[in-house]
């Protein structure tokens, strides 16, 4: 009888702590709907492939990882609301896989507000500057390189190839401005200036008309264009430029969502018979998923094929055809891999207060891409690698020779 009572108490205790006490809850806010949904969905898919795998293996110290996800549609206000919900209601351990500069930039003050509760944002899918420098850098851990590094690399390579008149097409918000700022700074090193700029508003669709922007930039006759935007608008801009018979090299940064961009252009190409992938350059912050020699790539491909995860149905309203592999989902995969390592290091009872200390102590960690990852009190960015790709036969391949000035 007495034992039975103990057993009952134990059961009640077990149940009340329940699922939540047992799971490690992390939260995300990203675009699962709208023109940029490809980014949010693919990043989630990559991360979930690895998380599902870990959960399948028995979790971390016997605890499974549960990812709470909300849609913000790539807009700042919903992103702020989602963050508050995740922190106050869902009581997540940490924030993870946020997507976008305008969203993350606005969430940063909130992190500062929650500083006493030690809320940290892990590996947001943005290369913008605000969370890489004071006063907000201390609340964010990045894996990927910054836009400054991406644009600097692009400008360096273009200038080296003799293309000094560089114009910019960008999304008129914090993300676009970040890229614009990077290009401006990179050009300043050479004593150059941006020769022309055209903008578009966030949320623009592929079906929209970008001829005006093409006209504005064509007037200043640039040698190359650096495009800082989301895939729908960037693909639209490339389509209208090529349709106008203008084959100037156009370079996109990693955020664009390379495969989504490429798919749109290939689809239109199929319809019109024109090759829209000429002189198309994309900078990446993770290695290509085609490099199967890398252990992480191998693992990524295997787990993606095995789980093919999808975000919760209630988050996705529109029809979306997932990509088998992509740079974005591979980035999500690597994010998850690093996160799992951090969670493992936190032991059986993860506490928010210890997160910063644990992450900052990571040094030369191998995540399977032949490049070690390190963090420190003043180093909240894991990788600095930039990879440059171009399209050959409808596939992204590493760029071997930059297009020189033909004139």
């Amino acid at each position: 009888m007495k034992y039975l009572l103990y057993w009952l108490f134990f059961l009640i205790y077990f149940y009340s702590e329940g699922v939540y006490a047992d799971d490690i809850v992390i939260g995300t806010s990203a675009a699962f709907r709208g023109p940029s949904r490809g980014l949010g969905i693919e990043l989630y898919r990559g991360s979930m492939a690895y998380i599902q795998h870990i959960n399948q293996e028995g979790g971390i110290n016997g605890r499974k990882i549960l990812m709470k996800a909300y849609n913000d549609g790539y807009n700042p206000v919903p992103a702020i609301e989602n963050t508050i919900k995740l922190v106050e209601e869902d009581k997540v351990l940490l924030l993870f896989d946020y997507v976008g500069t305008p969203t993350v930039t606005r969430v940063l003050p909130l992190l500062k507000r929650y500083r006493n509760e030690f809320v940290y944002l892990f590996f947001p899918f943005t290369g913008a500057q605000p969370h890489r420098q004071p006063p907000y850098d201390e609340f964010v851990f990045n894996l990927r390189a910054s836009y400054r590094q991406e644009t600097e690399g692009l400008v360096d390579n273009f200038v080296k190839a003799g293309r000094k008149r560089i114009a910019i097409f960008y999304q008129v918000d914090a993300y676009g401005r970040s890229g614009w700022d990077g290009v401006k700074r990179a050009l300043a090193k050479f004593g150059l200036k941006i020769v022309g700029e055209a903008t578009y508003r966030r949320g623009a669709k592929y079906s929209e008309d970008f001829k005006q922007q093409v006209e504005i930039l064509r007037k200043v006759n640039p040698d190359a264009i650096i495009s800082v935007g989301a895939y729908a608008a960037c693909a639209g801009f490339i389509r209208d430029a090529r349709d106008a018979g203008w084959d100037v090299p156009i370079a996109n940064v990693s955020f664009v969502g390379s495969e989504n961009l490429l798919n749109l252009l290939l689809e239109t190409g199929k319809a019109t018979g024109r090759d829209y992938t000429v002189n198309l350059i994309n900078s990446q912050v993770v290695p290509s998923y085609e490099e199967t020699s890398l252990p992480a790539v191998k693992e990524y491909r295997e787990l993606m094929d095995r789980y093919n995860p999808m975000p919760p149905k209630e988050l996705m309203e529109e029809e979306y055809k997932p990509l088998r592999y992509s740079f974005v989902s591979f980035e999500g995969f690597l994010n998850a891999k690093l996160l799992v390592e951090i969670l493992k290091r936190m032991g059986s009872k993860p506490e928010r207060a210890r997160i910063k200390e644990i992450v900052e102590s990571i040094e030369n960690l191998d995540i399977g891409i032949n490049t070690p990852v390190s963090f420190g009190p003043h180093k909240h960015q894991g990788l600095d690698l930039i990879y440059y790709t171009t399209v050959r036969n409808g596939l992204f391949v590493p760029i071997t020779d930059w297009p020189g000035r033909e004139k």
Partner: protein
Amino acid sequence: MRTSRLFKKILAIVVLLFGITAITTAVFSGWNLQKHLTEEYKSKGTAIANSIANSSVEILLNRDASTLQAVIDQFMEIQGVSYVYIVNEQGEIITHTFVPSIPEEIFTVKGEKDKTTIRDLHIKGMGDFTHISSPILAGVAGYVHVGMDKGIILAQMKSTVVSQLYLIAIIFLISAIGAYLLADKVSRPLSKLSAYARELAPIESAQRGDEIAILTASMKALMDYLQEMAVVANRISQGDLSLHIEPKSRQDILGHAFAQMTRYIREMAEVANKLAGGDLTQDVHPRSEKDVLGVAFRNMITQLRALVSQIRSQANQIAQISVEILTRSDEDLKTVENVTSSAEETSSAMSEMGASVEEVAGNTQTLFMSTEEISSSIEQMFNSIRQVTESSKMLSELSEMTAVAMNQMVFSIETIAKNSENSKQFYHETTEITLQGQTSMQQVVRSMDKIREAVSSATHTIQNLENRSQEIGSILDVIDNIADQTALLALNASILAAQAGEHGRGFAVVADEIKDLANRVALSTKEITQIIEAVQRQSADAVKVIQEGNKEVDEGVKRVNLAGQALDRITSSAQNSLSAATEIVQAIQEQKASTQKIMESVKKVTERITEINKATQEQEKGSSQILHAIGEVRGLAEQVKRATLEQSKGANQVSLAMEEVKSLISQSSNNAQQSAQAAAELSTQAETLRKLMDRFKLTGN
């Protein structure tokens, strides 16, 4: 349904008033809104520019473009903000919100170091903007520029004006329908009445106006018409048939009736005149069985014709008889001559015939006496004929008398009676319709009273509104005072802060803010005061307008009362006419008495005719006596013949008595000549009678 003129008039006034009210209020509120929105946008833009300028100093210094962009992006969500951009100290635009690129016009704008500037800017392809420039750190760190879209103000103003116009239009429509129903209710019986009146008495087209005007004119015309008809009736009653009556219209029953009546009487008079002239050929066709006069004339003519033809045949017979008598007399003469020659031839036998001659002499005496009898019979016949002539004379006199009596009979006609009844009925109807009109008028008056009540309550409400706004004004004074005091306190605080130096800087900022706040309060209070004053002005205007409306209503009531009085007059006139009609009926009854007299005269005529009959019978008797006498003469002649045959036997005797016979014969020949003379006279007399009778024409030919 035919739209009433009265309603048209009312509707036109209502439309005009509503139109003016709608347009002025809509324009005024639109203008007001535009003014306020412009002011609001200016202050909003200034607040945004200042807040960015103040908050972005640190970010600017950090050189973080994307944070700066995130900051200005936030303001783009505020309504009315079209663009925001920041220029650094070198004049470069370091962050902006333009799509697809920075417009050229932007490069011409420069901020001022020590103050926030507001200007209007037109950007090609984008529209008009209120452009606000605010310096960052007095321009050392650059400038913040904010563009507020004027297009939104214009669009809001337009939508306000349009929606207000819609609202007013709907209210107007409802009121118009209400007014229409009311006016229609009022004017339907009026227009019905006026249409009826117009039919009865057509009025000049120049006199046309609304229903009441038409009705008044029609009633006046009706009265004129009735008076005219009364004059006509009077003249007819005086026996004057010379007037020519022209009916005013097809509906002019009375006119038609009078015309018909005079025509009929004239016709009858003519018939009588012709009768007096002896023309019996005309046929009188009575209008109906009740046409007493017509029937009387017809009967009279038939009777006269029968009488005349009877007399004529009698006269003819007499003439024939006379001729026969004449022939017989001639034969007698011849016979006498024969006798004379025989006597001469048989003179030898004369002596034998002495006795026979004496017999002849006796017979001849008898013949002589018979002849005397004939002449007396003829005399008797002459007397009878004279009597006939006298009777005929009297008959014609009586006929003339009848004609005169007929001439006096102007009223005694059934149609008059009918028409009188018709007019009686019409007056009854008129009275009824007028009563209906009066009820409608009372309804109008009641409705007008209701309008007046509604108007006075509206006035009351507006005055309440005015009182409230005055209360608000007094409250505003209090607020204004507080603001002034606050400003003074803030000034004091600033002075104190300045005295405190470095430590008081924070306090100085607070004091400035308070001052600013107080100033804004003062500004707002002023604006509210202006608005309230505007409200007061408007409500005063509204009261004025309503009072004018009230006057209109009063006038309307007056007009309606006038119309009511007119209707009253119509009613009394109609009743007067009714009594006149009754009098006419009485007159007709009097005329019936006249007809009775005529009947008596006719009876006398009949009596006379009986007398003529009697005379004719006597004549017949006389004629048969003549015939009898002549028969006797023939018998006597035969006796003479026989006696003469006996005389031939005693010729001696004859010669003795010869001389005596000769003288006797000459005597009898004289007698025969006398008889022939009398017969000839009779014949002439008969001829004269026939001629007399021929004066009466019995058939057309």
